[in-house]
């Protein structure tokens, strides 16, 4: 293996690790050398190399003045590896005893994400996703993991009194100034927050706050409130950025999930770390 390849592999793993923490790599976060302007340099965007510069400029608005969040984004609200790596400063994840015990017994092969099931909220992935804003309802469309979508009702409705339980819950949204706020309840207790197996219950409520800070970047804060599994709410901090040179591509995880039969060991992060 050449030094260049070793260097590349290191860069890739390092960037993935950052992505897994729900953060874009600091070195590339605003592009390189006047990104978005003529002569801006292409660079790495997460796992992806030689990508067009992250665009720069003010955060755009739709014709009616609503913030325009549309586009293909890369990043997420929390670490794919371990949600506790993504906390707002001063916050902590305090599991109830049953949840703590469960995490210690979980096996990687049982992670729904390994089984090509939805990642849930706010678990990030190294795949891009798209926000589409239509009157009264917005959509988040995921390339992976897995090919799936969320619908966020923006027409002022309330949550149903007894929502049908769903992997992505029942989501209603509103604007708080420049920030898109999504309130979600009605979750199935299925997805894991991360590779290490942090659980949740049907009592979970998430409040997501998306703020497009400029043309190319978005901050994401997600408050996790699940009194069934955690002693107190906690908030994750992540971010995303526009992936300028691509569209969503197909990623049908169920096509050939060959690896599942070879997965072994306790629930663990990319480097083998467990809770």
């Amino acid at each position: 293996m050449t030094r260049q390849l070793i260097a590349f592999a290191g860069a890739a793993v390092a960037v993935v690790s950052l992505l897994a923490q729900g953060q874009a790599p600091a070195g590339d976060a605003k592009g390189k050398g006047g990104a978005g302007k003529a002569g801006g340099k292409a660079g790495n965007v997460g796992l992806y190399q030689r990508q067009p510069p992250t665009p720069t400029g003010p955060a755009p608005k739709l014709a009616d003045g609503t913030p325009d969040l549309s586009g293909v984004w890369l990043g997420g609200g929390s670490s794919d590896a371990d949600i506790s790596r993504s906390l707002k400063p001063g916050d902590s994840v305090v599991m109830l005893p049953w949840a703590e015990a469960l995490v210690k017994t979980r096996q990687s092969k049982d992670d729904p994400e390994s089984n090509c099931l939805p990642a849930g909220i706010p678990r990030g992935s190294p795949y891009p996703w798209r926000i589409a804003q239509t009157p009264g309802i917005y959509f988040i469309v995921f390339e992976g993991n897995i090919h799936s979508w969320r619908q966020i009702f923006m027409d002022g409705r309330k949550h149903p009194d007894d929502p049908e339980l769903a992997w992505y819950g029942n989501s209603i949204g509103r604007w708080d100034g420049p920030t898109w706020v999504i309130d979600t309840v009605g979750f199935k207790d299925k997805f894991w927050f991360d590779y290490v197996g942090h659980p949740h219950t049907e009592k979970l409520r998430t409040i997501e706050r998306y703020t497009r800070t400029d043309l190319g970047n978005m901050s994401i804060e997600v408050t996790i409130d699940d009194p069934g599994a955690y002693a107190k709410p906690f908030t994750t901090v992540g971010r995303a950025r526009i992936m300028a040179g691509t569209e969503l591509l197909e990623y049908i995880c169920q096509e050939d999930n060959f690896d599942l039969q070879h997965i072994s060991g306790p629930a663990q992060g990319p480097g083998g770390a467990t809770r």
Binding site: T2, L5, F8, G10, L18, G27, A81, Y127, D259, Q268
Partner: protein
Amino acid sequence: MRVLFCALAAGLGFLAWGPPAMAHHSGAAVFDNTKKIDLTGVVTKVEWVNPHAHFYIDVKDAAGKVTSWNLELASPSILVRNGWKRNSVKEGDMVTVTGSRARDNSNFGIAQTIVFPDGHKLNFLSAFEDGK
């Protein structure tokens, strides 16, 4: 593979461990970093599928015994964004592959690098050798 150059390469100031993240599960839960593979053989099949592309090679040992290996890549969506094409590796190619073997000791591994007789290289994520 213990990655020693990542801090320099990424300018991020920390070390990381391979194999690379598998996107929908922990790579460490499938592949054992201590079980290195270094295989030379002929490609017999390519599966350009999700969540991971695979290719198979037949490796002949000194006694002439042929062993088939299944070698894993990232997803096609990652690969094509990083310069791979679905025929970058094709049936009949002679390749040398280095990487790590599956934890269960099956003839399954992660293809961290793929080297062709003319010297050009690909890797698990990318066709760009310089990592830029």
